[in-house]
Amino acid sequence: MSQDLPPQGGYGPVQYRRNLPPRGFRPSFYIFATFAVCAYGFYRVIDATHEKRELAREKRWARIHLAPVLQAEEDRDMVRRVWAGERREELLMKDVKGWKFGSVYHSDRFVKPSFVPTPSQITPGLAPHYVPDEEEAK
C-alpha cells in the first residue's frame, strides 16, 4: 500500500504570521514615556501640596489673629449678662430672708450660664442701653 508522502524537496514554508512592518515606537520608548508623564504629574502634585500647606498656614494665622478679638467681645457680653442676672436676683430677692446670693456652685469658678434669661421688661432700677423702637417692639 502506497502512503501519502511529502512532495519531492519537502513542503514549502508555512506562513504562520502576518508579514506586516512593526507599528509605533520601540517598546522601551513607551515605558520611559509613561515614567516621564508620571514624574511630571507627581512633580505637579507635590508642588501643589506644598502650596496648599502654605495656604492653610495663611488661613490658620488669619483666624489666630482674629480669635482674641472675637473672644474678648464675647466674654465682655457674657460678663455683662451675668452681672445683670446677679443684679436682677438682688432686686427680686431683697425681701426674702436668708437668701444666699452669689454663685450656686461650690467654687468661685466662672460658670457659663446654661440658660439665657430674656426678661420681657427692662429690669427696674437698671438703665437700658438698648431701647427697642416702638415699631420693633410690637
Binding site: 502650596e51 488669619a62 478679638v69 455683662r80 442701653h129 427697642p132
Partner: protein, 153 residues
C-alpha cells in the same frame, strides 16, 4: 412640610439689655462682619499681636475665671482692632472694600482674591505702615500671598 412656620415669641426683644456697670470703661464693639475682619486680619495681627497674646495668656493663666479677670486685656484687644479698622477705613477704603467684597463673593478664600489683595497690602504698608507677614512660613521662599506662579489660581 411644615418647616416654614413663622417663629412665635412671647416677647420681642430677646436680649438682656442691661449695660455693664459704670466703673467698667466703655468700649465700642468692633462691628465688622466676617469678610472685612478676614481682610484686615493680618493687619490686626501686625499691630495688635502683643495685646492679643497678652489676652490669650491671661485667659490661659486663669482658667475658669478668665472672663472676669481678663476684661482689661480684652478691652485693649478690642480697642486695638478698632483702631486698625478705622485706619484702613480712612486711608485705604477703596482697596479694602474691593478686597472684602471679593472675599464675600469667593467663599472667603484668600487665594481667590490676590488681585484685590495686592493693592490693599501696598496701600496699607505705604500709608499705615502695617505689613502682612505669615508667621512660620518657610524661609527662602516667596510668601504664599506674594507668589505669581501658583497652582491654585
Amino acid at each position: 412640610m411644615s418647616n416654614n412656620r413663622e417663629p412665635r415669641f412671647n416677647q420681642h426683644v430677646l436680649v438682656d439689655t442691661v449695660p455693664l456697670p459704670d466703673h467698667i470703661p466703655k468700649v465700642d464693639e468692633v462691628g465688622a462682619s466676617s469678610a472685612p475682619l478676614l481682610s484686615a486680619a493680618f493687619f490686626i495681627g501686625a499691630r495688635c499681636r502683643p495685646y492679643n497674646d497678652d489676652y490669650m495668656k491671661c485667659k490661659d493663666e486663669s482658667p475658669g475665671r478668665g472672663e472676669l479677670d481678663c476684661m482689661r486685656e480684652g478691652r485693649k484687644v478690642t480697642r486695638c482692632a478698632i483702631s486698625v479698622l478705622e485706619d484702613i477705613n480712612t486711608h485705604c477704603l477703596e482697596q479694602f472694600r474691593a478686597h472684602w467684597d471679593c472675599l464675600e463673593r469667593r467663599n472667603h478664600l484668600l487665594w481667590k482674591c490676590r488681585k484685590q489683595e495686592w493693592p490693599l497690602n501696598a496701600c496699607v504698608f505705604e500709608k499705615i505702615g502695617l505689613e502682612k507677614t505669615i508667621p512660620g512660613a518657610p524661609e527662602g521662599q516667596t510668601p504664599i500671598h506674594l507668589r505669581t506662579n501658583v497652582k491654585y489660581t
